[in-house]
């Protein structure tokens, strides 16, 4: 690809880890002798990402998404293979490169815990040697976009998770990164906070043309944000292409979970759609996206002793498993 910002060729990463079987006796044995084992976290992956693209990395836990992001941000050195981001080898950790990208991890806190976020922002300005005028302009814009005017002067430890995540994002974006890596930025957030962050990211990507790679467990994040997805499973890329093609094939179905007050028979439920799980008191039904509303209404207006109903997306894990099963 011409003008590619990120180019990855035959990238591999193997880890050593020391394994231990379960149990007290095994733990005692482990004190004296540990078996080093090797795990192949990332295997021969290849991709190119162009300027301004918003790419989603999806795959089950342990698939190699985070490892890939860690190599691209220079935390880890690959075992073999090549990667260039903005023309730099990330793991050389050159300051010029570090000043041009940012990594935000939903589960890690980079702000100074005891101080208000504004103090961390000022520190960030010094560390990244940002000019005062552009720092102030960026800060004002970001604070307004994320609506955290009243938050930045409260100590981080007193912020809600959503507020903290927004401040993490601001902190990461103060130096106008050309490339942004987001590792599960919405994890653990409530639905409203998730939506706020998504809306912000859409706007930010459109305005600044920042190249963004996102990993998420929430299908909704991927659906709304990314036009292109890379599916990783067991360290390998199993799909790389337009999201539409992927979702049309696999994620068109919605999941309806219904709980009953008393036991019902399977036969009563088969009319509504494909039954995925059933145990008498709870049923999981898959329905095509366009029939969701109709089916839900039908279930609720039927004579069934419905106690509760829950509508959700197909889990990413399942979609990936489908893709994987189909490929083999």
């Amino acid at each position: 690809m011409e003008n590619s910002i990120i180019s990855v060729k035959n990238l591999n990463k193997t880890y050593k880890y020391s394994s231990k079987k379960a149990g007290l006796f095994e733990s005692a044995k482990h004190l004296f002798r540990s078996d080093d084992k090797i795990t192949e976290a990332v295997r021969e992956i290849n991709f190119e990402i162009g300027a301004g693209e918003f790419v989603g990395f999806i795959g089950p836990n342990g698939a190699g998404k985070t490892t890939t992001l860690k190599m691209l941000s220079g935390i880890l050195t690959p075992t073999s293979g090549q990667a260039l981001v903005l023309g730099y080898k990330p793991w050389e950790r050159k300051a010029e490169y570090q000043k041009q990208f940012a990594l935000v991890m939903g589960q890690k806190n980079q702000l100074w815990w005891d101080l208000p976020p504004i103090e961390s922002f000022v520190l960030h300005r010094e560390i990244y040697e940002i000019e005062k005028s552009s720092f102030e302009k960026n800060l004002e814009e970001l604070v307004k976009l994320l609506k955290v005017e009243n938050v930045v002067e409260k100590p981080v430890r007193q912020l809600s998770l959503g507020e903290r995540m927004k401040c993490e994002l601001i902190n990461a974006l103060l130096h106008d990164p050309k490339v942004l890596f987001l590792d599960e930025p919405t994890i653990g957030l409530d639905v409203v906070a998730q939506k706020n962050i998504r809306d912000f990211l859409i706007k930010y990507n459109q305005e600044k043309k920042t190249t963004i790679i996102l990993t998420s467990h929430y299908m909704r994040d991927i659906l709304q944000l990314c036009s292109r997805v890379v599916v990783i499973n067991l360290g390998k890329i199993v799909y790389d292409g337009l999201l539409e093609d992927l979702t049309i094939a696999y994620a068109l179905e919605k999941i309806i979970t219904v709980y009953f007050e008393r036991e019902v028979s399977r036969r009563e439920l088969e009319v509504f759609g494909e039954i995925d799980q059933f145990d008498g008191f709870k049923v999981v039904i898959k329905v095509p996206r366009e029939k969701l509303k109709e089916t839900a209404v039908n279930i609720l207006s039927s004579n069934l002793p419905v106690e509760d109903i829950d509508i959700g997306e197909e889990e990413i894990e399942k979609i990936v498993r489908h893709i994987f099963a189909k490929k083999n």
Partner: protein, 263 residues
């Protein structure tokens, strides 16, 4: 340099947050001194000397030792650094354009500056009440040498425990190692009893170690029991340089291992 000053500023501010904790930290040091004062006054009940120490010498020794303890040792460097490595917070530092060693150095330095203020207040108060009673002689050379040596003692202590902290790269978890080094170091530094009361073979051994420059040497300058010579400055300075280079090297090698295990 400006970025490190910003780290210093933030860490100084963060130290101001937990005033309650801080108050109790100082109270604990005050209590320690009170207990030592009481114990040694009882031991010297009939006057006399232990080694070459009279009661006054002993009390002054501990006043100096506690001052250094607060300024140079009132923090747990190895625990904090070890935890950052063990829990993977180190990652965040690896991708920022700042040097990990210096960032940590200045982030602890803020706390030291803060502790020095309060420690000095206590120290001067103690000196005020006790100096006359125990016939303490002031001299500018003595005080300035003492303060410079306290600064070196801060550096030595910091570097030793920075190294203990980054040994997490190899050992995974260093709580017990940290504790062992703390206990051993405190003894070899002269934090328990003045080193010239220990058997000579132990002092011989100690000559090859940096520990005595952390408490015993600075305090003995302060009490006037040691002459001010060039060597008392040069030897700890050489140790600082050596430990600095060792720390840099170990971090580099350790980081390779850290990457291998995924972090």
């Amino acid at each position: 340099m400006k970025k490190y000053l910003a780290v210093l500023k933030n860490s100084f501010q963060a130290n101001l947050i937990y005033r309650f904790n801080f108050f109790f930290y100082f109270l604990s040091q005050f209590i320690s001194f009170g207990i030592l004062f009481y114990i040694w006054t009882s031991i010297y009940y009939q006057g006399g000397k232990i080694g070459s120490y009279e009661l006054a010498d002993m009390i002054f020794y501990y006043l100096g030792a506690i001052f250094i303890g607060v300024v140079a040792k009132g923090m747990d460097v190895a625990w904090q650094i070890g935890d950052e490595i063990r829990m993977g917070q180190l990652n965040a530092f690896l991708l920022t354009p700042i040097n990990y060693f210096w960032r940590k150095f200045f982030s602890f330095f803020g706390g030291m500056v803060f502790r020095s203020f309060v420690a000095s207040l206590l120290f001067i108060t103690g000196l005020y009440f006790l100096a006359e009673k125990f016939n303490f002689q002031f001299s500018l050379a003595k005080i300035s040498s003492f303060l410079f040596l306290v600064f070196l003692s801060y550096l030595l202590n910091w570097l030793i425990f920075y190294i203990v902290g980054i040994s997490t790269f190899w050992f995974g978890f260093v709580w017990a190692l940290n504790y062992s080094v703390q206990v051993t170091a405190n003894f070899l530094e002269g934090g328990l009893i003045p080193l010239d009361l220990l058997p000579s073979w132990l002092n011989m051994l100690n000559n090859f170690l940096p520990f005595k420059y952390i408490i015993f040497v600075p305090v003995s300058i302060f009490t006037g029991r040691l002459e001010i010579t060039w060597s008392i400055f040069i030897i700890p300075l050489v140790w600082v340089l050596f430990l600095y280079l060792l720390a840099k090297l170990l971090f580099k090698v350790g980081l390779k291992k850290y990457e291998g295990f995924g972090g």
